[in-house]
């Protein structure tokens, strides 16, 4: 009986990883579509490819990790870390809400500080929600 113990656990991990992959595939396709739609239009933004890749891969990593940590308190910790990552990365990648496109003798500057502020507020709310969910989870299942 004791020899049988690791088997369901391994299967459980395998299933968990497969589920995480499946759950990550949908946002992966979404980011791919966004990339195809925006890469032509925003090709002139400096480092657009790099900035987009870091954001997309970062969020896909968090989606995978959160799916993998389903049913544990780490899920909520990862949600909080993801919100912090988004706040820091959006502020950095958008140059604090100001983007410049340079053509030959023509410069277009787009300033969207209010929109960036709204995104930061959303992520702060996400952190608050993550904390509440973690507290609720800890209160409900002390074993975890």
């Amino acid at each position: 009986m004791s020899e049988l113990v690791p088997r369901p656990s391994r299967r459980k991990i395998g299933l968990r990883i497969a589920r995480a992959f499946l759950l990550t595939a949908a946002p992966g396709i979404f980011w791919l579509i966004i990339w195809f739609l925006t890469s032509m239009l925003l090709a002139n933004f400096p480092n657009y490819q790099m900035l987009f890749s870091v954001l997309a891969w970062g969020l896909l990593f968090f989606t995978f990790a959160i799916a993998l940590a389903e049913g544990t308190i780490y899920k909520y910790l990862l949600i909080i870390v993801r919100a912090f990552f988004l706040i820091a990365y959006l502020a950095y990648a958008t140059n604090s809400g100001t983007l410049n496109i340079n053509f030959e003798n023509f410069t277009l500057t787009v300033e969207f500080v209010p929109l960036l502020a709204l995104m930061i507020v959303i992520n702060l709310l996400d952190i608050a929600r993550g904390l509440l969910q973690a507290i609720e989870f800890a209160a409900q299942s002390p074993k975890d």
Binding site: N105, T107, L108, E111, F112, L115, I122, R129, L132, E136
Partner: protein, 255 residues
Amino acid sequence: MTIKALGWIIALLWIITLILPISVVFSLMKLAEGKNMGIQEPIFSLSNGNLSLTIPFYINNTGFYDISEVSVKIKISKANTAITTLSKNLPNIPAGRMINASCNFSASLNEIFQRHSTLLTEDANLDVDAALHFRVAYAIAFNITQNFPTRWGAPFQNLTVYGVAYNNTANVFSFSISFNNHAFFPINEPLTIELYNSSGEKVSSALWSLDVPSGETFQELIEVKITDPSEMTRSGFIRLFFADLKIFEEEWALP
């Protein structure tokens, strides 16, 4: 319950955050299509020592959002030295409304040409930095800047004084002036003529009315009455002023 409410608020805010920039782009595309914007021919004028530029325009805001903080800024420089900076704030354009307005710039000739007096007599290559700023939906601001070179046409290009003569009986000093008005504006300010003798004393001064359209050549014989003939010498120098700016100084000698 609180967690659920927070979740809904977060979802709603993300939808707003994503829809806003997309709808702003569509709004600007709607505004840019057809004849929703237009600029009429600029009007240049020169009066009381001020150079004015009026650009009438219309905007029919067919977009979804109000356009605010509209401003235009023009900086003109020569060899990286600023000559003048003109800026104008324009009225807000509410969504679905059409506005007819004009962009008026005014600058004092003294201010412009004090440090660059050669611009009055010599054509030059200038650099123009033009910037248009506006905010859509009170949230997203756009700043479009363009720099381009432009050719400045001097209003007194090839300014020459020649044919100096003095009539002893009538006490009239005469000379001819010629120049080409290469400027984009007509010259209708008077020219101040100051005549000095060989000792550097002013022997006469006069105002000469000018009315030279843009692109025209001016050539005229000018006669100046000498009030005190005893101060008159056989040589000296002549100074010409335009809008209180010295544009010409040259020695003269009677034949």
